[in-house]
Symmetry: C2
Subunit: 189 residues, 2 copies
DNA sequence: CTGTCGAATTGATAAAAATCAAGAAGTCAG
DNA sequence: CTGACTTCTTGATTTTTATCAATTCGACAG
């Protein structure tokens, strides 16, 4: 059974047949390291599920790149305002290592909602979780120091520190690479 | 016609009868300045629409209070993870001036979704907008200086600076009241 | 009008984090 | 293995922002 199917079945707590129906709407695809899934400025007409690998979500701001998020496996992603409202995409999403994804096109997405009524419910829970998580992130950025943010990420996702270039993690935590380097050193003491 | 009804009709682009049906599920209520709509730690079993006034959403973090957001009129609010998943509430929501709100209880909310199928669609767009907005906020906190954040808020919601104690705005922008005071002074020059 | 209290400002100082500039270390193609 | 290239680290310095400590300002009760 495909990973997407397993994931839907277990996290949605649905029957195998329904999970299979849902996953049948998605097409498998691979991304080579460095390849883009979506690009800022272009419309985003698909949603993707990351089965393996890592994708960096980032944006150029002035002269520097800001990494908004590192997507890890078993998560869905899309450029939401573009996917839903047809606006230009806001984010670049680039594989930072070879990745396996499952992709659904916008037209099929609409068919999926019609074919599997409970999909709407699933999407709703997805959106709610994402929103709650973003609330948490904003709160952390408002209330925590760089050191506290580093320690929290290190506890929550220690594996990222082996797999992701540290400059990207630094940016995602709202600090410079130099600051992250010093915090790491400090932690070893 | 009540404000909630007007708001739903115009932003949802629905018929008057449907807007009226939706708004009939909500009960009016007033909040005196200082009164709490929801409290952190307690379950949140309602959603509210703010028709007039201002509500501060905040949380104690260590020895200081962090203002997450100032809710202005014509917005809905709830403590989402509590309202949907039944967890303890995460936020304090307190009127910072007398407020008029329309409240729907959780049980009625479920009935509303059943009575007005399109409500689900409305809720979906609400969630999507909120998520996109939070993405933007995270990005701004990652990429902008205190001064830039101040200028942006001052352009986007200048009226807040007359109505809301500046210490709350400072916190919401992730800076101290002293820093905000200095940035304001600097702006006048 | 006056005193009180919380909020805002101001100044002096300290801490945190960014910037700039080398180096060191790791990666990878050839 | 070697050289080129990128990433990471380190040190020195500057900038930004927080902290601490007085004032000053404003709203309001009496």
């Amino acid at each position: 059974m495909e990973q997407l199917e397993v994931f839907i079945q277990s996290s949605f707590q649905t029957e195998a047949t329904e999970a299979q129906t849902i996953s049948s709407f998605f097409q498998p695809r691979t991304l080579k390291k460095g390849e883009f899934l979506f690009r800022a400025g272009r419309p985003c007409n698909a949603m993707a599920f990351l089965a393996a690998g890592l994708i960096r979500i980032y944006l150029e701001a002035g002269d520097k790149e800001v990494t908004q998020w590192i997507l890890t496996k078993d998560y869905f992603t899309t450029d939401l305002s573009s996917f839903v409202m047809g606006k230009p995409g806001r984010w670049n999403m680039q594989a930072i290592e070879d990745a396996e994804i499952w992709v659904i096109q916008k037209e099929d997405y609409q068919k999926l909602a019609a074919a599997v009524p409970r999909w709407i419910e699933f999407e709703r829970m997805l959106l709610i979780h994402c929103f709650v998580y973003m609330e948490e992130r904003v709160f952390n950025l408002l209330s925590m120091s760089a050191e506290e943010r580093f320690q929290q990420l290190f506890i929550q996702q220690p594996d990222l520190f082996n797999k992701v270039p540290l400059q990207y993690l630094a940016s995602m935590m709202g600090m410079t690479p130099e600051t992250l380097s010093r915090l790491r050193k400090k932690m070893l003491t």
